[in-house]
């Protein structure tokens, strides 16, 4: 259907960015929790590497391996720049930088999606 998988690719990255945004929110909320270790999402490339494509088969009766179409983002601890005396490793500045990156990437993806959708609609509309 889609020759370049553009929309599905953008959709996956938006899902990954949303997950990352939730993790930033989690870090910020726990900024004063004693012993809390900051977390971050594994890089998008790594999450993408695990997404497989469905194998084609000559007959619908053939058995085929279950395709892992959905993106599963693994979460890992990612300590900030400093650890305070209670063992909390969240640094507010780093989280704000991450939040800025997420916002930029999300806005860019949304714009690209809009642009491509516009092109698509130009061919569909009489």
């Amino acid at each position: 259907m889609e020759p370049v998988h553009l929309f599905s690719l953008i959709d996956r990255q938006q899902a990954w960015l949303s997950t990352r945004q939730a993790l930033v929110a989690q870090n910020i909320a726990n900024i004063d929790t004693p012993g809390y270790r900051a977390v971050d999402a594994a890089p998008f490339e790594r999450a993408m590497a695990r997404v497989g494509f469905e194998m084609s088969a000559s007959s619908s009766l053939h058995m085929r391996p279950a395709a892992t179409e959905t993106l599963s983002t693994s979460i890992r601890t990612a300590d900030g720049w400093e650890t305070n005396h209670s063992g909390n490793t969240v640094s507010a500045e780093l989280e704000m930088i991450k939040a800025g990156d997420i916002r930029n990437a999300y806005a860019l993806n949304a714009s690209v999606m809009r642009a491509f959708h516009g092109m698509w609609m130009a061919t569909v509309k009489p």
């Binding site: 949303s18 930033v24 929110a25 910020i28 004063d32 004693p34 949304a110 809009r114 959708h117 609609m121």
Partner: protein
């Protein structure tokens, strides 16, 4: 639960925790001069607050909540003031163990964390509306 709604929920829990902290700071500051009732009575003891992160099973994210409000067990400063109604037999009055400077510092920190939570909330909402705006004018 979709991650952006989860982000809003998490930031909300952060706001609640930080405002509870501000409430404790306000209590401490208001009672900074509250001596005990009657001769030799115990004065106001400074309150402390601690947070703990908690897994929200419905959405699988770590929220923050107030673990408990405790009492600072540091000794009360003693002041010689025989005329005070709270003075004991020696004319000594025990004052609350509230340090204004510590409370101000705590207040600033709570303020900053609250602002950071608000910022995250604002941004999560922006991301949601960016997605919804894709429907506009298509």
């Amino acid at each position: 639960m979709d991650p952006l709604s989860a982000a809003l929920k998490i930031a909300g829990s952060g706001l609640a925790a930080q405002s509870a902290r501000l409430r404790v700071v306000a209590e401490n500051m208001a009672n900074a001069q509250a001596t005990g009732q009657g001769p030799g009575g115990a004065p106001y003891a400074r309150k402390t607050i601690s947070f703990v992160s908690e897994l929200d099973r419905a959405s699988g994210v770590q929220l923050v909540r107030v673990q408990g409000v405790g009492v600072d067990s540091s000794p009360f400063p003693v002041e010689h003031d025989p005329g005070n109604p709270a003075a004991d037999a020696n004319g000594d009055v025990r004052r609350p163990n509230v340090n204004m400077l510590t409370e101000m510092g705590d207040m600033r920190e709570a303020n900053r964390a609250y602002e950071a939570d608000l910022q995250i909330m604002r941004q999560s909402r922006d991301l949601l509306s960016m997605t919804i705006d894709l429907l506009k004018g298509a």
